[in-house]
Amino acid sequence: MITLTEAPFDPGAALNAFSAGRAASGAVASFLGIARGQAGQACALELQAYRGFTEKEIGRFAEAAMGRFQLDDVAIVHRFGSIGPGEAIVLAMTAAAHRREAFEACDYLMDYLKSRAPLWKKEHGPAGARWVEPTARDLADLKRWD
């Protein structure tokens, strides 16, 4: 259900695998987050994960989302380590009986992942590297679900 990977992953293959055998569900939604950055830059960002803890915490949240949106299934693939510009960072996938639940659950999972998931992000820009904390917009997005 929750996969943390230091190596780049193939989002298409992951979505194909998740979508296979979903005749009973009828709706699969997904969101793919991609590292912004300038071409040629070696590293756009660095994500620290706490192996064992990070998967467990994201998994607990995904379980809650299953109940809240009556999902048939949910899967998240998240990178950690050094991530280059244009590389996939996160793929959230939801399966439900109807599209609305699948879309909303995906949106909900991403708001959580962007602001509460146990990951620590360092951005590498022209002015050097800095640790990033959730933006006001990230926190406002999360509040939509209270």
Binding site: Q48, Y50, A117, P118, W120, K121, K122, P134
Partner: protein, 79 residues
Amino acid sequence: MARVLLFGRLSDVAGWRERAFDAASLSSLKALIGRQGPELAQALAGPGVQTAVDKVLVRGDAPLGDRQEVAFLPPMSGG
């Protein structure tokens, strides 16, 4: 000995990510680590820093046994 892990900006302030310390409780462990420098002591006590013992979040003080893993987690930034 407790195995101590630091994440995010805490590891930059400390200059290390993992180290072993001998402490009987979380509070004495924090004091011990804080002796490495006022900047690190302040960062550890900073708002939003959470503590996990053996990968479970813990609030307040707690006794520490041998070979436990303690992680100090600054505010999470998400992916």
